[in-house]
Subunit: 242 residues, 2 copies
C-alpha cells in the first residue's frame, strides 16, 4: 500500500517526524505537496484536502496521512498508527503506550521550541515579537530545555534493555523523533547545544546512531530531506542562541 | 480494578479531562493526591511518584494514571487507554484514531489557553508577564479561539451520526472533554464567550447535554469537582476578557 503524506512542501516542520519514520521503514509513500502542481501536488493539493467540505472527519491541520482511504492527523497520532505497520513500535500494548507517551512529550517540546520565535502569535512575523521571543527563550534555555533533555536522557539511562534505544531493544519512531529533536536544536541553538550536550551523552549517541542507519543516511543525503530554514520549527536566529 | 489518578489536588487542570471520563463511566478510582497526607495522599504522594528513581518508564509530568501496575502519562494517552475500557470510545480502530485525533486537538487548544496568562514562562507569575499576556490574548481571541471553536462545531455538524456527539452516535471521552473546554472558556472569558456562543449552537448543546448526564451532574454537584480558580488552566482575569 502506498501512503500519502500531506504537509507543507518547503519546511521540515512537524511533518518531518512522519517522513523520518516512513524513510527508516523503507515505506512506499508519496509526499504529495512536494510533487509539481501539474502532477496534482504543491500547496494547492494540501489546501484542497484541508478545505474539502465533503470530509466527514476533517483534519484540523497538517500533517495528514492518507492510508487505505482513511485520513489521520496529529503527528503523534500518525506515528501511533504507523508504528506497528512499519515495525517501528513495540508489539505489546504497554510498549506502544510508552512509545506514544514519549512522542507526546516530544510534541510538547516541539511546541515550546516553536514558541521561542513565536511566543505571541503564530500569525505574526518573528520580527513583530522579537522582544517577547528573547524573554521567552531566556527562560526556555534556563529551565525548560534542560528539563526536557534531562528527562529524555534519563529515559535512555533507565531503559531496562539498555541506552541504545528510547523504547526497548529495537529502533522505533521515538528514536527517529529524538534524532530530529537533537538535529533541530543543534541547527537552531548551536552555542547552547554545545554547552548542553556534554551532560546528555546517551542522547548524542542516539542521534549519531540514527543518522548512521543506512536508510536514514541515504534520506539525509537525498533531495527529499529539506534543509533546515527560517520558516520551520527549528530556526537559527543568533540573537536567541545565548 | 481500581484506577489511581495522580494529579495536583487543588486545580482542575489537565487532570480534569481524566476525572470527567472516570466519573462518566462510574469507574472505581482514587484521586490519590486529594486523600489526606496521613492516608498516603496530598502533594507529597504525587511528588514521590514523579521523583521515584526506581521507575523504568518515568512520566514527565502529571496527570499520571496507574492501572494494573502500569503508569500512563499524557492526558490524551490516558484517555486513549481508558476509552475502550470505560466504553467511552468507538470499538473500531478508525473511530478510536478519530477520537484520539480530536482529543489531541483539545490538548493543543488547552495549551494555548494556558498561554493566555503565561505566554513567556510557566515558572513566572502572571503578574510578571501581564503585558505579554494581553498581547497574546488579543490574537488568541481574534484568530485562534474562533478557529478552534469553528473546527469543533464543524466536526459536530459533519458527524454522519448526527450532531449530538463528537464521535459517532454515542458518548465518548471527547464529549466530556468538549464540555470541559466550553465550561472553562465560559469561566475564563465570559464576555468573549457570550459573543462567540451564538455561532456555535451545537457545541453549546453538547456542553448542556454532558452537564445533564446523571453521573456528570452528580459529579459537578459533589465536592469531588474542584471549583475553577486562578491556579489552573482556565483563569478569569477580567483584563484579558475583551
Amino acid at each position: 500500500m502506498r501512503y500519502e503524506l500531506y504537509y507543507w512542501p518547503a519546511i521540515q516542520g512537524r511533518g518531518e517526524f512522519v517522513r523520518l519514520a516512513l524513510e527508516e521503514a523503507g515505506a512506499d509513500y508519496v509526499d504529495v505537496a512536494r510533487l509539481p502542481e501539474g502532477e496534482g501536488g504543491g500547496v494547492p493539493a494540501l489546501l484542497r484536502l484541508l478545505d474539502d467540505s465533503a470530509l466527514a472527519l476533517p483534519p484540523y491541520a497538517p500533517p495528514v496521512l492518507k492510508a487505505d482511504g482513511t485520513l489521520i492527523a496529529q503527528t503523534a497520532n500518525i506515528l501511533l498508527f504507523l508504528g506497528p505497520r512499519l515495525a517501528l513500535a513495540p508489539p505489546d500494548e504497554t510498549g506502544r503506550i510508552w512509545a506514544h507517551q514519549l512522542q507526546l512529550t516530544v510534541t510538547d517540546l516541539v511546541k515550546e521550541v516553536h514558541d521561542t520565535h513565536h511566543p505571541i502569535a503564530s500569525g505574526l512575523y518573528y520580527e513583530e515579537q522579537k522582544a517577547e521571543a528573547k524573554r521567552y527563550t531566556a527562560d526556555f534555555m534556563a529551565r525548560r530545555l534542560p528539563k526536557y533533555l534531562g528527562y529524555f536522557e534519563r529515559v535512555l539511562e533507565r531503559n531496562p534493555a539498555g541506552p541504545l534505544h528510547m523504547v526497548g531493544s529495537a529502533a522505533s519512531y521515538v528514536d527517529t523523533s529524538m534524532f530530529q529533536v537533537i538535529a533541530g536544536l543543534r541547527y537552531a541553538f548551536p552555542l547552547v547545544m554545545k554547552r548542553l550536550e556534554a551532560a546528555h551523552p546517551r542522547l548524542v549517541a542516539l542521534h549519531d546512531s540514527v543518522a548512521a542507519r543506512p536508510r536514514i543516511a541515504a534520506y539525509l543525503a537525498s533531495p527529499r530531506r529539506i534543509a533546515f530554514n527560517e520558516q520551520g520549527i527549528f530556526r537559527h536566529y543568533p540573537e536567541l542562541d545565548a
